[in-house]
Symmetry: C2
Subunit: 227 residues, 2 copies
């Protein structure tokens, strides 16, 4: 008998389907409030329905989509409670993050954060919303990495897709991208200078502003009871 | 053909093995710094080696044990870095927790916490270390539940076994159990009275003291470079 491992093609196809669908959700190509069907996705990707089904189950278990009857799905929208929960976690973790890294800032390397900030400036000028949100997420995850606490990094990674989706529409609010760039700049300055309390205050302000932008986007006045 | 689901016995046996081994680790029956073997565990439990192997892989992936050559394993001990990481997470999450719940304390139900505290008093008087640590974990997880933030609860649940293992030896330090009961009492009083800053300060003090006790237990002066 030949000593080779089976190719296990279905698994690899479902992983490819997963990546393709996730990418389309995070870029906004797959739209909120629109129903999509397994069969159409499969046709579009040029593959059979089984791997698409597997990919959808995975995305659903991560909370990115809701499955509907007749093999349809929609991108998850967020209730007021979802938004408040995510921002509570972010606030707990990210205030502790800037507090810690501003204490050790003289030993740290901020090049990655500088580069991200420069690209964010450009994306804001170009009104490249999707690119901007991607960079925004990278900025916060890169801050988390500087803590050198693998468990903080994991929590930040676990909520990164939610941060992204929530930001996707919030940055379309007039002036929000420029404001974010400004908030990031001030924050990074404070952290780098080792200004511990200022870093906490600025991060808190930034998260409050982001939370308000997200709530304004997702929770319309008439749907306040949605949560 | 009969429409019955196969019993899938191996899975259920490995789950039973998992629970039994995990329980022995958390109770301290399976000791730190001692090597155990798959074959002996299987003999002890009266089952075959396959389910035991599966249980050990699961416990290893959760970080509770380290697998050794020749199918042995040891309970994971913690480096200074592990301890600092876990306490950083706890501090970020639990300070935010008491801050939030002291803001809404008049609307909350503290019966569970009162009951746990009463039992902790008794366990301390009886010098029932293992029981005490179990109650300690319950106290902190119950505080997390009061935030009504499912994501905070999940983070607390995810680190509960580490909290438990770290506490298991720390509470054997002379006087530590009485001190913990006292710290919990003061903390609960402040939270209940809606004293926001006091709650943060008391939680911070409690976690600092616990962290020091754990470091004293796990990191001997000569092993400071272990991290």
């Amino acid at each position: 008998m030949l000593n080779v491992t089976p190719l296990n093609q279905p698994e690899s196809l479902s992983k490819m389907a997963y990546n393709a669908i996730r990418r389309s959700i995070l870029s906004g190509d797959i739209k909120i409030d629109e129903i999509y069907y397994e069969v159409h996705i499969a046709k579009n990707l040029g593959i059979s329905r089984t791997p698409v089904r597997e990919a959808l189950l995975e995305l659903s278990s991560q909370g990115l989509i809701s499955l509907l009857p007749r093999k349809g799905f929609i991108v998850k929208t967020f209730s007021r409670k979802d938004i408040e929960e995510i921002f509570e976690i972010r606030s707990a973790i990210e205030l502790a993050t800037v507090e810690k890294i501003s204490q050790t800032s003289s030993l740290l390397e901020f090049n990655t954060l500088d580069d991200i900030l420069t690209s964010q400036c450009r994306a804001a000028a170009d009104k490249a919303h999707s690119k901007f949100v991607k960079l925004d997420r990278s900025f916060h995850v890169a801050l988390g990495k500087l803590t050198n606490n693998s468990r903080i990094e994991i929590i930040m990674q676990n909520i990164r897709d939610f941060m992204h989706l929530m930001g996707l529409h919030a940055v379309e609010l007039r002036g929000r991208m420029d404001a974010v760039v400004n908030e990031h700049k001030m924050l990074l300055h404070a952290v780098r200078q080792g200004m511990i309390m200022e870093s906490r205050v600025l991060m808190n302000y930034h998260l409050q502003q982001s939370r308000n932008a997200v709530l304004q986007t997702y929770v319309t006045p008439s749907s306040h009871s949605k949560a």
